[in-house]
């Protein structure tokens, strides 16, 4: 509930970011209610209507198999949500936990952070590519790989924030009141980290979309039959001149969603504790 008021306050007076938030809401609704909204099965092939232009009954036209682009785009929204939320969860659960604990228990923490440094020596997409080489192409693996890539930065960020928070006077005060480690970590420190974590999650969500699209494009992401915006672009790229709508619709959807998420993240970041602002690597 507090996070919701935090978001509401951050959006106050920021028209573009509010528009972004509304767009994201539409994506969320479309993703959840995809079967109700999509007029066709995203995998259904209509051989006669291959590469038909936008109109009726195919709102966004069809691809080279004759599949309805609009329906695929709506299911793509669902996939975007799954990838985004999944990656954020993996990044926060792995990276967030490692970073927080490392920052709190600094003895072990510095060793853990050195290991994170080693992983960070691999540029993000390259690390994802290498991991995908070893793994099968699947939705789960794509989420895992993107999540791990951003877990490293998340660990770093939370480590830094924890070091700052741990030296706060009110933490000393809580210790003097007799609070133990668990109480310090979860009652006193974590609530102060929630809004910066939310901001970080917003940016991870945005980046994950771009990474997933890039992986799809390189043929190393989601399985080709999965209706995702990235796959739609990857499969239809050769029709860019013959059927430009095939690339415009999914492309614009990705851009709008990432842009909205970045706008939202930016608006939220302006509201968090200024000490944490520089820690969060966003746009």
């Amino acid at each position: 509930m507090k996070l919701l008021t935090f978001v509401k306050e951050a959006l106050e007076g920021r028209k573009l970011a509010t528009a972004g938030a509304i767009w994201l809401l539409i994506i969320v609704v479309a993703g959840i209610a995809a079967p109700l909204i999509a007029p066709f099965d995203p995998l259904e092939i209509d051989p006669i209507a291959r590469l038909s232009e936008p109109g009726t009954p195919y709102l966004f036209g069809t691809d080279h198999f004759g599949r309805d682009t609009f329906s695929r785009a709506v299911y793509g929204a669902r996939m975007a949500l799954i990838i985004g939320i999944g990656s954020v969860m993996v990044a926060l659960l792995c990276g967030g936990l490692v970073g927080m604990l490392s920052g709190y228990f600094t003895g072990l923490g510095h060793v853990l952070m050195r290991m994170v440094d080693v992983l960070m020596a691999f540029p993000a997409l390259l690390l994802a590519l290498v991991l995908m080489t070893v793994l099968e192409r699947s939705v789960f693996n794509t989420i895992l790989v993107i999540g791990i890539v951003y877990a490293t930065t998340t660990a770093r960020i939370l480590f830094g924030m924890m070091l700052k928070l741990k030296n706060e006077v009110f933490i000393d005060a809580a210790r003097c009141s007799g609070a133990g480690h668990l109480s310090l970590l979860f009652r006193h420190i974590l609530p102060n980290l929630l809004s910066p974590i939310l901001v970080q999650a917003t940016f991870i969500f945005a980046f994950a979309q771009l990474q997933a699209a890039a992986l799809d494009f390189l043929g190393l992401g989601l399985p080709p039959e999965v209706p995702s915006w990235g796959n739609m672009l990857a499969e239809e790229r050769i029709y860019i001149t013959r059927a430009p709508w095939l690339l415009i619709f999914p492309g614009v959807l990705i851009i709008l969603s990432v842009f909205s998420m970045n706008l939202l993240g930016d608006a939220l970041r302006d509201r968090i504790d200024p000490r944490f602002k520089d820690d969060i690597a966003g746009v």
């Binding site: 009110f170 005060a173 809580a174 003097c176 009141s177 007799g178 609070a179 006193h188």
Partner: protein, 270 residues
């Protein structure tokens, strides 16, 4: 005043090690507190006074278990409290409490005053339930000059002086034996500082709690203490009754400090 002191610090040494940037493995050693000894008796106010970097704050943090010492002992009611683990120190926290300098930083911005104040009550099992806790907290807030309504509010809704009163309430709620007050009034405006000083003095008198009052301000120190220890570069250079310190300073540094303070010479006279 009984013969055995409540808190007896002997030969305390603190060394901070920081990584030296020039050499690879070398560390810089900063001997922050050198061979410091003093004692605080029950019901007494002892002040540590000195300029920034003299080690006074470090001593306060050591005695509340927030930092560790290199060597020395600190006997509280006969038992050495140095070198205790976080858990080992916990039972002592009911008896040794701390007031912090910055009223804006010492209250968790995410917690209501009720949560902040009730925490030590529950940890030290001083109350059985919320209702009892609330009664205790409301009474204490009245004592420090705040409305019991404050419980429902967050720290940012209060002014600096009010927050410091809340900090004092948190400390007094557990009825400690000794309070370590680290620059407790330094961050406050002159008129608020006077209010809080009066409050501290009143509570100290009425409860009989001992106090280690850490400050850079000699005038404030004179007002509140029984005895004063003057610190310079990690050492206590002079420790005496306050009358002696002010009227008959022995150490050169004490004299320098006293002569450096700008004063309002003319007083309000008819």
């Amino acid at each position: 005043m009984s013969n055995t002191p409540l808190l007896d610090v002997k030969a305390l040494n603190v060394v901070f090690r920081t990584k030296s940037s020039g050499k690879l493995l070398a560390t810089n050693r900063n001997h922050a507190v050198k061979n410091v000894s003093f004692s605080v008796h029950a019901g007494e106010v002892l002040s540590l006074v000195g300029e920034s970097g003299c080690g006074k704050t470090t001593i306060g943090r050591i005695l509340t278990g927030l930092e560790s010492a290199e060597s020395g002992t600190a006997n509280f009611q006969g038992d050495n409290i140095l070198g205790l683990s976080n858990a080992g120190f916990r039972p002592l926290r009911k008896h040794i409490q701390m007031i912090f300098q910055d009223p804006y930083a010492s209250l968790n911005p995410r917690l209501t005053i009720e949560k902040i104040l009730s925490e030590p009550l529950f940890i030290h099992k001083l109350v059985r339930n919320r209702v009892e806790a609330r009664t205790r907290m409301a009474a204490m807030l009245k004592q420090v000059g705040l409305d019991p309504d404050a419980l429902k509010r967050y720290p940012h809704e209060f002014s600096g002086g009010q927050r410091q009163r809340i900090g004092i309430a948190r400390v007094m709620l557990v009825s400690p034996r000794i309070i370590i007050a680290d620059e407790a009034v330094s961050a406050l405006d002159v008129s608020i500082q006077a209010q809080v000083l009066n409050l501290l003095k009143k509570l100290q008198r009425s409860s009989g709690v001992a106090m280690l009052f850490i400050s850079h301000d000699l005038a404030v120190v004179r007002h509140i203490s029984d005895r004063i220890a003057v610190m310079y570069q990690g050492e206590i250079v002079e420790l005496n009754d306050k009358q002696q310190i002010f009227e008959n300073p022995q150490h050169e540094y004490t004299r320098l400090l006293l002569s450096s303070i700008p004063q309002v010479k003319a007083r309000s006279t008819p």
